[in-house]
Amino acid sequence: MIETICIVNSQVPFARGGAEMLVDSLAAELGRRGFVVDTVALPFHWPERVDLLKSALAWRLVDLTAAGGRKIDRVIATRFPSYAVQHPNKVVWLVHQLRQVYDLQGSRYSDFADERPRDRRTIEMVRQIDRRTLGEARAIFTISQNVAERLRRGNGLAAEVLYPPPPRDGAFHPGAFGDYVFAVGRLDRLKRFELLVRALAHTETPVRCRIAGTGPEERALGDLAERLGVAGRVELLGWVEDAAVVDLYAGALAVFYAPFDEDYGYVTVEAFRAGKPVVTAADSGGVLEFVEDGATGFVCPPDAPREMAARLDLLFRDRERARALGTAGAARVAGIGWDRVIAALTG
C-alpha cells in the first residue's frame, strides 16, 4: 500500500534557507519514489519569550493523523518547534533545535542569559519541550554528527546521522583551478565571511575572493575590505543564479566556508562535489565532519587571519595540491545520497 507522509517544518515567512531547501528536496525525492507526500508549515516568530511556548503549543494542537479522509501514515518533523506535533508514527530528521538555548547560549549569537530569571526559565522550558516531544518520536535522525552530538549533550537523546544531499546535487562538476577563493551563503554574522576578508589582507600572492549572496552583513563586508585595503580583491557578487553558482564552484581555486558551529552545511558537500578543497575554521561545527586539515582542505583557528592567509597562498602557488585535496574531498562525500536517507526515514 502506498504510504502517506506529511513533512512538518516551522518556517520564518519570506526567509528561505537550508531547512526549506531540505524539506523541498525531501518532498520531491519521496514523491519520486511513489510516496504520497505533502508539507505542512507553521510560521515561527517569537518577539517575546512566551511566543516560543505558544509556537510549540500550536504544533501540539495540530492533528495530523488524517486529512481529507486520508489517513496520514507518517510524519517527518524537522526543526524546533515542529517536532512538538503529535503522531503515532512521528519520525524526526532534526535540522536543528533552538540553538540560542543550547550551543549558542553565552555566545554573541544568543541573547539568553542565565542570570535573568525569565531567560533561565525559558531555557528550562524549551529544553523540557525538546526532551518530551523528541523523546516520544519513533525514531530520531539528525542531519549531521554535530546536531546529534548537541542532542546528546543537551537532552540525553541518541540519534543516527543522515547527511542530506545538497539541492541540485548532480549539477556540480570540477573545472579549472582559477585565482579566486569562492564563498557562498547568506551574508550574516554566523557565516563569518569577514574571516576571509581579513585573511586576504595578509596574503602574499594576488589570490582574490568572490562572495555570492546577500544579507545584513553585505555593507559591513564591503567597508571592511575598503578599510583593510583589499577591496580590489574582494568581489561581492550579490544574489547569483543557481547555474552561475555551479560555474563559480567549478572555476574556483578553493572554497571558503567557516560559519560558527554550523549544523551541517551544504556548501562543504557542494565544494567537494566540484572537487575543490575547503578552507574552514576549527569551530565550524558540521563542516569539520568532512574537512580534515591537510587531507580534504585546511582547518584554521578562527582568530588567526595570517594562518588562513598562508593556506590560501599555499593553494594559489600549488594548484596540484589544491586538486589533490579537492579530489579527496569528493571521495569523502561520495556516500551521501537520497536512497539511503529515504530508506532510513521510511523504514
Binding site: 519569550r49 512566551v50 511556548l53 505558544k54 510549540a56 503549543l57 501540539r60 494542537l61 512538538a84 503529535q86 530569571p117 525569565r118 533561565r120 526559565r121 525559558t122 522550558m125 523540557q128 519541550i129 526532551r131 518530551r132 516531544t133
Partner: protein
C-alpha cells in the same frame, strides 16, 4: 481648594450645560472652601450670571494655568455630544482630573473624535485599548464593512476612567458597569439633582388646571405624555400600540409626545394611521412649554431600552413634580423605588404590562396621587441640589487629599513573577480562546488545550 470646572455651560444648549449651571451656585454656597474657576471651549461665553460670579478661561489657557500651579484639581463633565465634549475629552487625556461620567457609553464621542475625524487607526486603537484584540477585530471589521459598531456593547469609557483621578456617576447602574471593568476606580455616586428653584430662570411649575387650559386640552381629557428627544430607544412603538388599545376603553385619553422626533429615526414606519387617533406630537419645545406639558399630564411614560446608563434629567423632574411615571425596568431607571413609579419589563410582555398599568392608573386617581407623592418625596430626599453639591465637595476634597495618580487598570490586575512563563502562556492562550468565543462551558476544547500544554511536558 482651587478647582477648574470644565463643562459646557449655557447658552450652550445641552442638558449637561444646564446641569452645571444649576450646580455651580449651589456648590459655591455649600462649599466655601472651593475656589471655582470655569473652563470653557474657546469662543464660548458663559451666561452673564455665571461669568459674573466665576472667573472664566478658554480651554487653550488650561495647560499654562496648570503648569503655573493655578489649580489643585480639574473637574471634567463628559457626555456624548462632540460639539460640547470633544475638547473636554482631549483635555482630560492630557491633564488627568476628576471626571463626571454623565453616561457610561462614550462610544459616539470617541468615534466622532477618531474615525469621523478622519483617523480610523485611532478608532481601532481605542477599541484595542479597551477590549484587547477582540476590540481591535471589531473595529477592523466595522471599518472594512462600513457597518457601524453597536455602541452599547463597546461603551469605550475605559480610557477615560484610566486617565481620571476619580469618577463621579449619577447612579448605581453606571457605578456597577464601571467597576465591572475597572474594579479599582475611585468612584462616587452623586444622584442627578433636581432644581425646582428656578436657577434656569423658569417660573415655578404651573398647576395642573392652568397648564391644561394653556395647552388647550378638553376638560375631561385623560392625558398620557412622554417627553424628550424621540429615538427608537424611547420605544415609541410600544407606547403607541399600548395607547391605541387604551383608547378603545378610554376614548377620552390623549397621548402627547412632547419633544422632537430624531431625524435619524424612521418614525413614519412606526406611526401608522391606525395608531394616530388622539396622538399629538409637539415638536421641539422651549422649556416653559415643556414644563407645562409635564404639569398637564395625568401619567408620564418614560421608557428606555437600550440605555447608556444615563440618569434622565426629565425623569427626575417628572418625579420631583409629583407626576405618576411609568418607566422601563432597565439601567438606572430600575433603581427608582417601586412605590415611586411603575416599571415595565423589557421583554415580550412590555406592551401588555404597559397597557395594564395605563388602565389601572387611568381608573384610579387615588393611586396616581399616591405614586406622585411617593415620587416627590423620593426626589426631595435623594436628588436635592444641596445634597449634590455637598457630595461633589466631599469627593473633590478626598481626591485632593489622596493625591491619586492615573491608574492604567488593564488586566492582568494581579502581578506574578516575571519568570512565570507558564502563566504567561496560560494567559495568552486564554485570551485567544476567549477571542474565539470559548467559555467556561467548553470543556472539550479546554481539555484539549490543557492536554496540549501537559503534552509539552510543562
Amino acid at each position: 481648594m482651587r478647582l477648574a470646572w470644565y463643562s459646557p455651560l449655557p447658552p450652550q444648549r445641552s442638558g449637561i450645560a444646564d446641569y452645571s449651571a444649576e450646580l455651580l451656585p449651589a456648590l459655591a454656597r455649600e462649599a466655601p472652601d472651593l475656589a471655582i474657576e470655569l473652563v470653557v471651549d474657546d469662543g464660548v461665553r458663559p451666561a452673564p450670571a455665571l461669568a459674573a460670579r466665576f472667573p472664566v478661561h478658554g480651554a487653550r489657557a488650561l495647560p499654562g494655568l496648570l503648569a503655573a500651579g493655578r489649580f489643585d484639581l480639574v473637574l471634567y463633565h463628559l457626555g456624548n455630544n462632540r460639539d460640547f465634549h470633544a475638547g473636554i475629552y482631549r483635555a482630560l487625556l492630557e491633564h488627568p482630573g476628576v471626571v463626571v461620567l454623565h453616561e457610561v457609553v462614550l462610544h459616539h464621542l470617541v468615534r466622532d473624535v477618531t474615525l469621523y475625524a478622519g483617523d480610523p487607526d485611532a478608532y481601532a486603537r481605542e477599541l484595542a485599548y479597551a477590549y484587547g484584540r477582540t476590540g481591535e477585530a471589531l473595529a477592523r471589521r466595522a471599518l472594512a464593512t462600513g457597518v457601524p459598531l453597536e455602541p452599547w456593547s463597546a461603551p469605550l469609557f475605559e480610557r477615560v476612567v484610566d486617565r481620571s483621578l476619580g469618577v463621579i456617576v449619577h447612579n448605581d447602574y453606571v457605578r456597577r458597569r464601571v467597576l465591572a471593568s475597572r474594579p479599582l476606580s475611585r468612584l462616587a455616586v452623586v444622584p442627578h439633582h433636581l432644581d425646582l428653584g428656578g436657577s434656569l430662570g423658569e417660573a415655578s411649575p404651573p398647576d395642573r388646571e392652568a397648564a391644561r387650559d394653556a395647552q388647550g386640552l378638553p376638560a375631561g381629557a385623560f392625558v398620557v405624555a412622554s417627553f424628550g428627544f424621540f429615538t427608537a430607544a424611547k420605544r415609541p412603538e410600544i407606547l403607541l400600540r399600548a395607547f391605541a388599545r387604551l383608547r378603545r376603553e378610554r376614548p377620552e385619553a390623549v397621548l402627547v409626545l412632547a419633544g422632537e422626533v430624531s431625524p435619524h429615526y424612521d418614525f413614519a414606519r412606526v406611526f401608522t394611521p391606525d395608531l394616530r387617533a388622539g396622538v399629538t406630537i409637539t415638536g421641539r419645545l422651549e422649556l416653559p412649554d415643556f414644563l407645562r406639558w409635564m404639569a398637564a399630564c395625568d401619567i408620564a411614560v418614560n421608557l428606555r431600552h437600550p440605555t447608556a446608563g444615563e440618569t434622565s434629567g426629565t425623569l427626575i423632574r417628572l418625579l420631583g413634580m409629583g407626576r405618576p411615571v411609568i418607566v422601563s425596568r432597565a439601567g438606572a431607571f430600575a433603581e427608582i423605588p417601586d412605590g415611586a413609579c411603575a416599571k415595565v419589563d423589557v421583554d415580550d410582555s412590555e406592551e401588555e404590562l404597559l397597557l395594564a398599568y395605563l388602565l389601572r392608573l387611568a381608573a384610579d386617581p387615588g393611586l396616581r396621587r399616591a405614586m406622585g407623592e411617593n415620587a416627590r418625596a423620593y426626589v426631595a430626599a435623594h436628588h436635592t441640589l444641596a445634597g449634590s453639591a455637598r457630595a461633589y465637595a466631599a469627593f473633590l476634597r478626598d481626591t485632593v487629599a489622596a493625591k491619586p495618580e492615573p491608574f492604567d487598570a488593564r488586566p492582568p490586575l494581579l502581578p506574578y513573577p516575571e519568570d512565570d512563563l507558564l502563566t504567561d502562556l496560560a494567559r495568552e492562550v486564554t485570551t485567544e480562546l476567549v477571542d474565539l468565543g470559548a467559555g467556561e462551558a467548553d470543556d472539550d476544547l479546554l481539555r484539549a488545550v490543557a492536554e496540549g500544554i501537559a503534552g509539552l511536558g510543562l
